[in-house]
């Protein structure tokens, strides 16, 4: 055996003084108390995950701040987003309609094997006569915008010609009701305009949409479960894949396009899950290997794993206690924390004089630096926690609790469990040789060159740095998936939900009138091709004022004594009685205007119901969504809301992006302030050498920023947040390296080296992540920790601590 085997000597036996005995006794008390807490945490985890079956959250957007300080705007977005979260839209298409139908049937047949999972949208509801009844009864007040303009412009003669022309069509009227109910076709055209709002048509018993020469069967359905729940993804995705495969087999040249939150949600969750296991297991295996190579003994490995395990258990239990949903990305981030928590244990185990002086004594001596290290790391995580990002707060809590738990485990349990055996491999010798070479290389002239080179490279890199806070940069969807989602949105002409107008008013009718005023502006923008269209409640539910105005307009222009009706009667050779009857039916004074209750009660309102927030406190609120908007047109659309009372443009994408930007700047200042604060904390202990403790982190941060700049990646909030960790860990290294009283310098340096390597192995592995947030973190950690490790000895080997007592 290579390790120097020293006969175990019980620490407390070598401690003779009564003070030491007391200390050991206190220590034991803490150890038992900690055991109770750990058991409590294990039981709580069991309750939450095994008994309550709590689900992990996978929604990326749940990590982002709920910035809308305006509760109405927040409700609007939640309503619109919530309405579509469970939607699944599948297009099954072919150039040959009959092939598409066969494939569509095959798809539906597979889904029908699990009737409880989806609610299919029913066709029959939309086609029942009762659905349209409220509009048919109120048709007098329903006139399209272009007819309204024509009514003001056209002569009665024009209307008669048009009515007669309609009578020549070989196709029948294609209308609801008989010709005499709508002789001038106003209601027919109004319905046609409503129908034009969607390209989907019921044909041959299914829903159909065409795109160029492709015909698609549309299969709209609603998930019964949440799209972001892992469990539902695990169940539903295989079924959807099976349905897809079955549809592809059922016809020739079948194209299938699917859209719905579940697809990106499942893709992101699968990716995170994958990374959770590779990064998590990667760090664990790396740490086991390092510990093995270092100590050549199983006990240290078991101890380190114990501290990590308890850290994780504690972190999960406390997070689950404070948060209803624990995010999958928290676990991914937490998995990378293993390497950080491992430092404490390694540090203690590296002290080669444990067998001589007793574990408890060694631990008491180490305690100040271990505490400082914990403090700075936790401070840096609290830095993450003060951001308004619920996801980051959760990660910060998770990490802080995990670190504290591991730390307590090391402090209270390790002296009793370590077996006092010391064993270290030749690797320590190699490491110290390398360290000495590195220090020698960097003394004098080379050190100056090194400093200058670092500064120059950093300056060049930082000069190239540019910030971009666009939230869309943080999403990573496979291209094929993204393309399908955009295609489905385009083919079905679905509105976007990232931007919308919020309309509010003190009464329902005023709300509808304000929305109509906005629509007039939107109509003219649409004619200028600023965007493709919009969805608004008032298309189906005009204000009563507008219904009355249109009814009056039609009465004056068409049904006046010598108006179009009178002339039509002449052309059709009908009598007075006929004219009187038609006129009285079309203009009778008992106009019952269409109401929101009637609209809401009809199945026709279903697609637009999310736009109707109704009464919210003292206000009435509705939402207008847009279709076919290009990014560069957004400012124009934002301006369109100007000048309208009660109309507000809300751009969720832009508002989240601007929050990200605001916090990137704000957190940079907090970081600078943290450096200052820690400097002040160190002053009493390290005096003028305090700057040396901070210098490695500063250097590491500068180089990290430079690397981001040189790689051409935009600077984002998440880079700044990672710099918090670089700060915490870099300071840790420097603190450990400055503790040199009771132990050989080599021990400490070796422990620091190990800690750095394991941190790079874990947090640095995040750089490989395809999730942009984690990648940003990982890159900064990888560069930052490496530079900290290299820089720390250069600054700290000549920075002896002034005092050795506890701070």
């Amino acid at each position: 055996m290579l390790p120097i085997a020293v006969p175990p000597v019980a620490g407390n036996l070598s401690a003779n003084s009564s003070e030491n005995v007391k200390a050991v006794r206190t220590h034991r008390l803490f150890a038992w108390a900690w055991l109770l807490l750990v058991i409590a945490a294990v039981l709580y985890n069991g309750k939450v995950w095994v008994i309550d079956h709590r689900q992990l959250e996978t929604d990326f957007l749940a990590l982002l701040p709920n910035d809308e300080s305006d509760p109405v705007a927040r409700a609007a977005f939640e309503r619109v987003a919530g309405a579509t979260e469970q939607n699944v839209l599948v297009l099954v298409g072919s150039r040959d309609w009959s092939e598409a139908r066969k494939a569509g049937d095959a798809y539906a047949k597979v889904l029908a094997t699990q009737p409880g999972w989806f609610t299919p949208a029913s066709l029959t509801a939309l086609q029942s006569d009762s659905a349209l009844a409220p509009w048919w009864t109120n048709r007098r007040g329903l006139v399209t915008e272009s007819d309204r303009a024509a009514l003001l412009r056209n002569t009665p003669d024009d209307w008669v010609k048009q009515a007669l022309n309609d009578l020549l069509s070989p196709m029948g009227s294609g209308r609801v009701g008989a010709w005499q109910d709508d002789p001038f076709g106003f209601f027919r055209r109004w319905l046609q305009a409503r129908a034009a709002e969607t390209p989907v048509r019921p044909i041959d018993g299914v829903l159909r949409v065409d795109d160029a020469d492709m015909h698609y069967v549309v299969l709209p359905m609603q998930l019964r479960s949440q799209a972001f729940a892992l469990q539902s993804q695990r169940e539903v995705m295989p079924l959807l894949n099976e349905a897809r495969a079955s549809a592809e087999r059922a016809g020739s040249e079948i194209t299938i396009k699917s859209a719905g939150m579940i697809f990106p949600a499942a893709a992101a969750a699968a990716q995170a899950n994958n990374e959770l296991s590779t990064i998590g297991w990667g760090s664990v295996i790396g740490i086991i290997l390092i510990t093995w190579v270092t100590f050549r003994s199983l006990r240290p490995i078991a101890l380190i794993l114990l501290s990590l395990g308890i850290g994780t258990i504690g972190a999960i239990a406390v997070t689950a206690f404070f948060y209803k949903s624990v995010h999958l990305l928290t676990l991914v981030f937490g998995a990378s924390l293993i390497g950080v928590a491992e430092d404490y244990g390694t540090h203690y185990l590296c002290m080669s004089d444990r067998n001589v002086r007793g574990g408890v004594t060694v631990m008491r001596d180490l305690l100040p630096s271990l505490s400082l290290a914990l403090l700075t790391t936790v401070v840096s995580f609290i830095g993450l926690g003060v951001s308004p990002f619920p996801g980051l707060q959760q990660m910060a809590l998770f990490s802080a609790v995990g670190l504290v738990s591991s730390w307590i485990t090391v402090v209270v349990w390790f002296p009793a469990l370590d077996g006092k055996q010391i064993g270290r491999a030749r690797v320590v010798g190699w490491f110290n040789w390398l360290r000495i070479r590195w220090l020698a290389l960097s003394h004098g002239q080379p050190r100056i060159w090194l400093g200058v080179a670092t500064l120059v490279v950093s300056a060049i890199g930082i000069a190239r740095l540019h910030a971009n806070d666009d939230i869309r940069l943080l999403q990573s969807l496979p291209d094929s998936l993204l393309r399908e989602q955009t295609d489905v949105g385009r083919i079905l002409d679905v509105p976007f939900t990232g931007q919308l107008y919020i309309v509010r008013a003190p009464s329902e009718q005023l709300l509808l009138e304000r929305e109509e005023a906005l629509r007039a502006r939107l109509d003219s923008l649409q004619q200028q091709h600023v965007f493709d269209g919009y969805q608004a409640v008032t298309t189906w539910l005009p204000s009563q004022r507008s219904q009355r105005r249109d009814a009056l307009l039609v009465r004056d222009k068409i049904y006046a004594a010598n108006g179009a009706l009178h002339q039509l009667r002449g052309a059709l050779q009908e009598d007075d009685a006929w004219e009187t009857r038609i006129r009285s039916e079309a203009t009778s004074s008992t106009v019952i205007p269409l109401t929101s209750a009637a609209w809401l009660a009809s199945p026709i309102s279903e697609p637009l119901r999310p736009l109707w927030l109704g009464q919210q406190g003292a206000e009435w609120v509705s939402v207008v969504t847009l279709k076919g908007v290009e990014n560069e047109r957004l400012p124009e659309l934002a301006r369109a809301a100007e000048g309208f009372v009660g109309v507000q443009w809300a751009d969720k994408v832009a508002s989240i992006s601007s929050v990200l930007g605001r916090y990137r700047v704000r957190m940079s200042w907090v970081l600078a302030a943290s450096y200052l604060l820690v400097f002040l904390i160190f002053l009493p202990r390290y005096g003028r050498a305090s700057w040396r403790i901070l210098a490695p982190s500063v250097a590491a941060s500068l180089v990290s920023l430079a690397v981001i700049g040189l790689l051409g990646q935009p600077l984002q909030l998440f880079h700044v947040l990672a710099l918090f960790l670089v700060f915490g860990l870099g300071v840790d290294f420097a603190i450990f390296l400055s503790v040199q009283t009771h132990s050989a310098e080599g021990d400490v340096s070796f422990a620091v080296g190990l800690a750095a390597i394991s941190t790079v192995l874990s947090l640095g592995l995040l750089a490989l992540s395809a999730t942009p947030v984690l990648h940003a973190f990982g890159l900064v950690m990888l560069v930052g920790i490496t530079v900290s490790l290299l820089a720390a000895p250069l600054f700290c080997s000549s920075a002896p601590a002034r005092t050795t007592g506890p701070v």
């Binding site: 020549l168 046609q192 390209p199 993204l482």
Partner: protein, 230 residues
């Protein structure tokens, strides 16, 4: 007498119904790619004492659609293609409905073409067909399978021989349209010069419209904002 009886029997035997009849009608109907003729139309509308009568010429060209040229009581042209339905009086377009605004334009145009041409193979997918076929003539009643369509058209009755000779359209509202055809001609020569012109220059901007639709669709997808729809 026996000869007469035999004739009756043979008539009875050759009187076929159901699916077999549809097959037989399909054999009987010529379905030429170009077909023109004269029509007389009579609309009986609920609430109107007198039926509305009109007459004119029509042409049906496979894959191009239908031209419905009313000459009396006044000139009016209806041109249906898969891209649009355009109504005009002389050079003035009085209404235009594109497939972009109303996706069923193609379906409507195809349906009218299939009815005029007696293309039962195609009509079968959308209608329940009840047919009777005699050796030299046939008639058929088409009921839409789709409840939504049945709300508008309750049935279409067709009768004819080599060509469709009479169409009766019964609307759910009680309105009824009867069209009878005469002077059928087929082949390229069937088209009169102005009719050929109408088909050669497909009514107005049909193709340009589609180009714009595709372009704007491409623009939209390049905006790539779909990912934020929730």
């Amino acid at each position: 007498m026996i000869r007469k009886l035999l004739l009756i029997v043979s008539v009875a035997v050759s009187h076929v119904q159901g699916d077999a009849a549809v097959t037989q009608i399909q054999k009987m109907v010529a379905r030429p790619p170009v077909m023109c003729g004269a029509f007389e139309q009579q609309k009986t509308l609920v609430g109107l004492k007198k039926p509305v009568k009109s007459a004119g010429r029509f042409c049906a060209v496979a894959d191009k659609g239908v031209l419905w040229n009313t000459l009396t009581p006044f000139a009016s042209t209806l041109r249906l293609s898969r891209e649009e339905i355009v109504q005009s009086q002389g050079d003035r377009v009085t209404s235009r409905l594109s497939a972009r605004e109303e996706p069923t334009v193609g379906v409507i145009s195809d349906l009218l073409f299939s009815v005029l041409a007696g293309d039962f193979a195609r009509l079968k997918s959308g209608f329940r067909i009840d047919a009777t076929a005699q050796p030299a003539s046939w008639n058929a009643t088409l009921v839409p399978k789709e409840s939504g369509m049945r709300r508008v058209i309750s049935a279409i009755e067709l009768s004819g021989a080599e060509y469709v000779q009479k169409i009766t359209m019964l609307e759910a509202s009680g309105d009824r349209t009867v069209i009878t055809f005469s002077n059928m001609a087929t082949g390229q020569n069937a088209l009169q010069p102005d009719e050929a012109k109408a088909f050669a220059a497909p009514a107005g901007r049909g193709s340009t419209d589609r180009g714009t639709a595709e372009r704007s669709a491409a623009d939209r997808s390049s905006a790539g904002r779909g990912e934020f729809e929730r």
